[in-house]
Symmetry: C2
Subunit: 153 residues, 2 copies
């Protein structure tokens, strides 16, 4: 059921707390990742996506869709990562642009992942009860499904 009303006072407080929380959390996680691994959040996200793809390769257009990033944002990000040797552009069939993670990119990800994982555990999951962690997962899933449904509609 979609309503056309504004937020209640309680909802507004909840929303502001959420927005502030996610902003501070993203900032903290990004700072730790950069300090530990010299990777930005965006670098890390791209490396995870490619490393989990078959042969460590994806079409740029598929990567753009998977990350929900606009083409120009992805292009600039990949250019920076290419220069640092973390990914490489390859020729695909026809004019398809293919992006592949390099051995150096995999090594950077493998070094960063366990450290990043511990930070997320300490900043998020160690602070929630088991029940809250389940609620956190369920609420995120519900909201994401709704957002995706809007896009496909």
């Amino acid at each position: 059921v979609t309503s056309d009303e504004e937020l209640s006072a309680g909802q507004l407080t909840a929303w502001r707390t959420f927005m502030e929380m996610q902003e501070v959390l993203r900032g903290r996680i990004a700072a730790l990742l950069q300090a530990d691994s010299k990777l930005s959040n965006a670098d890390y996200t791209v490396l995870v996506a490619l490393s989990e793809a078959a042969d460590g390769r994806m079409r740029a257009v598929s990567l753009s869709y998977a990350l929900q990033w606009e083409k120009s944002r992805l292009h600039h990000q990949l250019t920076r990562m290419c220069k640092r040797g973390l990914v490489e552009r390859q020729c695909g069939v026809g004019r398809a642009s293919i992006v592949a993670v390099t051995a150096e990119g995999r090594a950077a990800l493998n070094a960063a992942a366990p450290i990043h994982s511990r930070h997320v555990r300490q900043l998020v999951f160690d602070r929630l009860t088991k029940q809250q962690a389940e609620q956190f997962a369920q609420i995120s899933r519900t909201l994401l499904d709704g957002l995706r449904h809007d896009l496909s509609g």
Copy 2:
């Protein structure tokens, strides 16, 4: 209790879903705000903070702390908003830099707020049960308190 372990498989899934959700949600909210009101998320955040301060004014350093933004980020943001007439810089006591919302800034915020509020309601609260909305608020509060505690420690 702080653990030194990595994330479990379930936690990793929950974390990735959360990160994707908040990224898509922020993007959607930002796009709607821009389309409706010609304000970025950052513009909106600054206008809300100033409009709720006494006399619509804050010391830049207090604003920076309240938003948890680095000084240079706030400086660039305020420069853009000054040029558009949404805020103005004023001389404070001694060398303190003061930022004030203008009548134009208040008008822009007042026009944007109810539309923004309806979008948040439709994208978030209409999709959660009353119980989930309470969980969402409580989890955000718990995580934010933890992050703030880290900073003050």
